[in-house]
Symmetry: C2
DNA sequence: GCCGTGCTTCGACAGACGTCAAGATAGAAG
DNA sequence: CTTCTATCTTGACGTCTGTCGAAGCACGGC
């Protein structure tokens, strides 16, 4: 899968372009190109199985999960799960890394944060926007 | 359109259930039902035309736009625009109200805020999360 | 009443999507 | 090297989706 990682970086870069520093949907109309880029991500999340996969990976211990962890949850064949993971990968939402026999997936919180920032109308003092696509954080604190 | 407004309220209620007070994707795995509800909204946003419609409406003066404002932007037939608006409506993302000859659409910022809240991992002090969810916007009469 | 305008619904069609079984590939263990 | 396990790719199938033209509704104006 490392073959298409270039494309996935490209997705992230394109999305960063769309989001800019902080341009929510409600501020100004999206251009045709911007809407295509954004829609690609939303379409990837527009399937129940893929959404569950995303949350399974994101909430799994260590922030990563191997395919074997994911397959058992669904009544779906292996190839189907693999297909959905590929869609998520190509949308830039997750990355996969092979370690020995298993392939571990993890989400890209930067992308989720960017998409989230596009939606909220005014971004009053939303810190998600500034976050610069570096390390993943997983600073889950409960209050 | 007033015929299905009941269903649209239902969508919002269901989504509020999913989001709960503040449950991001990364905190715990989505249930099958939750993922179906959420995916419905993302799927509606997973088309470039619909995303542009959404941002055109959201960013239009007064927070609303009539279909005539929207049709000219695209190289698409009237029925196609109408179809996309219907999808957005049934996902609970916009509402439509007839005033005289024209029908005006406006977005539901609550729903955008809810969806946005689901995506961001920790929501450190994100005010979008607390959203009231009580009052509904348009008192359109049934039938 | 009648007509014109704005918007939606209907019916149809090509293309995209989700799913599976079967085959292919990569690594680990004999 | 051979075999076994985990995962991906391919090819096929039925269903869903985006699009259009034509027809239908709801107004306002005559």
């Amino acid at each position: 899968m490392s073959k298409q990682d270039g494309h996935e970086e490209q997705v992230l870069a394109a999305l960063a372009e769309v989001v800019g520093c902080c341009s929510p949907l409600a501020r100004e109309p999206l251009s045709a190109d911007q809407s295509v880029e954004l829609a690609r991500v939303f379409k990837a999340m527009g399937d129940p199985v893929r959404l569950r996969l995303l949350s399974l990976i994101a909430s799994h211990a260590g922030g990563e999960a191997c395919v074997c962890d994911l397959t058992d949850v669904f009544d779906l064949s292996g190839p189907t799960i693999s297909h959905h993971l590929k869609v998520l990968r190509e949308a830039g939402l997750i990355t996969g890394e092979r370690r020995g026999t298993w392939i571990y997936y993890r989400v890209r919180p930067e992308l989720l944060a960017q998409v989230s920032a596009v939606l909220v109308p005014a971004a009053p003092d939303n810190p998600a926007v500034v976050m610069p696509a570096g390390r993943e954080a997983l600073p889950v604190v409960e209050q």
